[in-house]
């Protein structure tokens, strides 16, 4: 076996073929693709792969999760902090169906993943065999690509395609379903060759200079230009190119929640967050700007509010790598189809160096109003109970904006995204498009594996935590260091807020009871603490951050706080409410 392995670890195709199983070919493929971590859960139909994995223990760090959904969210967290492809293993049937939420999440948030699922023997397909499910058809709408392998000889080529597709162009999840016979089957292995071309797939368009020229001309004439950026900047590793563009053009820039951190929170031209719970100025002034420059974002309805009243006065320049996004929700005046790592420097070269002092001052005026009416109350409250915002503010003061912030979904997510200080890119890990409660805990585990030298803080609500709290078992067993803050308002807060504002306070099933979270953590041998007094907050946060290893801090916050500003559903962004 050792001799075979020596031959196999060479990445170049071998003239001398070796006979290996499909499972070994798979693991060799992963090694050649630079995979170091796998999140997975074994089961009957994937047993041959796990048997092979037993011999690869030193090269491939397999993290045993507690539920496949936890596994895939961990894979997502890993991909988001590391910039690499997240790899997830699951068995057939229920193992595979448990991946679906994570696939849908990764699909809508463009997260590169390769998921390997076991499948029943090929001759049993379609017989309703034990743990057989039609994984390919179930996952088709939520994968960028999927494929069923029934013959081991296909494995090297298919895995190569899977990695290429997952990470190129607009990234996304890929699922490969491998029947058990193919995992066992021995074949003449010719080595592994990475894929760099598929004739029907063109991830990287050739940039047409005339569109760049048109865009630059619009920008140079603009009196009130405004930049909206999204995760595309991060996915394209174009943070530096983006910063140079923003600084040369002097244009105020606002972010979608997945774009947060691409330039630091306190950059003078970073004017804040867009969308339903975004900042006041960016929302109102969207309907006042004359040129809107959208970079690597897709005009999600949570960002645009009512579309027929969205930036109608503005000329729109849309930079995106995915042509299906251009003109999908907002008609562009100039489409710049391409990789922003390429298009941004081309644009920067043609734009004039400017300072839009007066225009920027308008954003600052709105910020002042927002501080007075919303932010001050949230960050420096005079109420006896703590607010979510003051917890984030304290955390900022201790971490100085260097931590990776992983959030779940709901009020705490909006508060954390609004107030967390982020100095670095790949620091804000959240479920944006799908809004998956239960995302944060497993994603934080993956995020830490993807960025082991950084502090990872998961901020989670009392509702979402209970959706995937079993992953504390993964923390316990892997020994990974994840700091967990539960912001407990004893409500499903975001739904409660809507019921208060739009359903005349008819609080229908939002009053949620929780276990003793600290005791629950203790059962998993994770130390923890509960605080309900403001004066304990700094010391508790310090204790959490200084603890060697994971720590759970439960902070009791005020029950019926609302997140503001808010663009009510069906309203225009300029109708944003401060209360």
């Amino acid at each position: 076996m050792e001799a075979i392995q020596e031959i196999l670890t060479e990445s170049t195709p071998k003239q001398t073929a070796v006979e290996v199983s499909g499972s070994v070919a798979l693991l060799e493929a992963l090694l050649t693709e630079g995979v170091d971590t796998i999140f997975g859960y074994p089961g009957g139909a994937i047993m041959p792969i796990y048997d092979a994995l037993f011999d690869y223990n030193e090269k491939l760090n397999h993290i045993l999760v507690r539920h496949e959904q936890g596994g895939i969210h961990a894979g997502q967290g890993y991909a988001r902090t590391s910039g690499k492809v997240g790899v997830v293993f699951a068995t057939s049937g229920p193992g595979a169906t448990n991946l679906v939420t994570g696939l849908a999440d990764a699909q809508i948030d463009s997260t590169p993943l390769v998921c390997i699922t076991g499948q029943v023997f090929a001759h049993l397909l379609g017989t309703d065999a034990f743990q057989e499910t039609d994984v390919i058809n179930i996952t088709t709408p939520v994968t960028k690509w999927n494929y069923q392998v029934t013959d081991a000889t296909e494995i090297p080529e298919v895995i190569a395609k899977a990695f290429y597709i997952a990470k190129s162009g607009r990234p996304g999840p890929v699922l490969i379903d491998i029947t058990k016979n193919a995992q066992i089957q021995l074949f003449n292995y010719q080595g592994y060759t990475k894929c760099n071309h598929i004739r029907s797939y063109r991830p990287k368009p050739i940039v047409r200079p005339q569109y760049i020229e048109q865009a630059a001309a619009l920008i140079n004439e603009a009196k009130k230009p405004f930049i909206l950026w999204g995760q595309g900047v991060i996915l394209g590793s174009a943070e530096q190119e983006f910063k140079t563009f923003v600084e040369k053009s002097g244009i105020p820039a606002a972010w979608t929640i997945l774009g947060a951190g691409a330039i630091s929170t306190d950059h003078p031209l970073n004017v804040g967050m867009l969308g339903m719970h975004g900042n006041y100025g960016p929302n109102v002034l969207t309907n006042e700007c004359d040129v809107l420059i959208a970079i690597g974002m897709r005009f999600d309805d949570r960002v645009t509010g009512r579309l027929d009243k969205y930036a109608k006065q503005a000329k729109v320049i849309h930079l995106d790598i995915d042509p299906a996004e251009i003109d999908k929700n907002v008609k562009s005046t100039v489409p710049v189809w391409g990789d922003c790592k390429e298009t941004l420097p081309m644009l920067t070269a043609l734009v004039e160096k400017k300072e839009h002092t007066e225009w920027l001052a308008k954003f600052n005026d709105y910020t002042r109003q927002e501080v007075e009416q919303v932010i001050e109350k949230e960050l420096n409250p005079t109420t006896p109970e703590m607010t979510m915002g003051e917890v984030i503010k304290q955390l900022n003061e201790i971490t100085k904006g260097e931590a990776v912030i992983v959030t779940d979904v709901g009020q705490h997510q909006m508060v954390a995204c609004r107030y967390a200080k982020l100095n670095n890119t790949r620091s804000n890990i959240t479920s944006g498009g799908l809004g998956t409660m239960g995302f944060a805990l497993p994603a934080a585990i993956g995020a830490k594996f993807g960025a082991q030298d950084r502090t990872v803080v998961a901020i989670i609500g009392d509702g979402g935590f209970q959706m995937t709290c079993q992953e504390m078992g993964t923390i316990m067993q892997s020994g990974i260091d994840v700091k967990i803050i539960i912001l407990n308002n004893r409500f499903l807060g975001m739904v409660r807020q809507w019921q208060e504002l739009f359903n005349s306070r008819r609080y229908s099933f939002v009053d949620i009871q929780s276990p003793d979270f600290v005791a629950l953590a203790a059962a998993y041998r994770i130390p923890g603490k509960m605080i309900d007094d403001r004066k304990d907050l700094p010391s508790a946060l310090n204790e959490m951050l200084n603890n060697k290893g994971s720590f759970l801090l439960e902070v009791m916050v005020t029950k019926e706080n609302n997140v503001f500003p808010m663009v009510p559903q069906g309203c225009s962004v300029s109708e944003i409410r401060l209360k």
Binding site: T140, P141, W145, R199, S200, Y201, I206, D322, A324, I326
Partner: protein, 201 residues
Amino acid sequence: MSDQDIEKQEFNITVYTENQIGLLNRIAIIFTRRKINIESLNTSPSEIDRIHRFNIVINESEDVVRKLTRQIEKQVEVLKVYYHTNEDVIWQEMALYKVSTDVIAERVSVERLLRENGARVVTLRKDYTVFETTGHREETDNLISILQPYGLIEFVRSARVAIIKDSDGFNSKLREFERLEPGEDVIENEYLNKGQKVFTM
């Protein structure tokens, strides 16, 4: 009728794809997800070995069709998508009609009707005869209503096949696709210009 319904018309969507299991589903769900009915769907090998051609007919506004074609073209194994109105294509549907041979033999008017409608005999048996016509929907529909009084036993119609009037075929495009760095012929931004009839990528 809402404004959107008024804009709706028949569009012929032509999709060139790899021959891959599961791709039909991947394409079909792009329509079903948006609750759009596929009026006609034909898939068969194209003029090029291993490349399949889909002809899909839907009734929608051009704006919707444009977005749909981009979503289809986004699929990894789809090479290229075009959309056209009925005026831009030559199209045909084939229909088979089974009628009693006795009726045909005895009633001359039937024979004349069939002749007038361009029907050809495919099979002639003692008990029944199968005729075939090709044409537009109204033409094949017309023959059904004519035959109905004479005891039409069975009828079936194929999906629509359509040839694009303004097309040079796919051979030269494919050569571009196969190159590692496709030339501008394949990767172009022109379709993003508004008002262009042909969707091209």
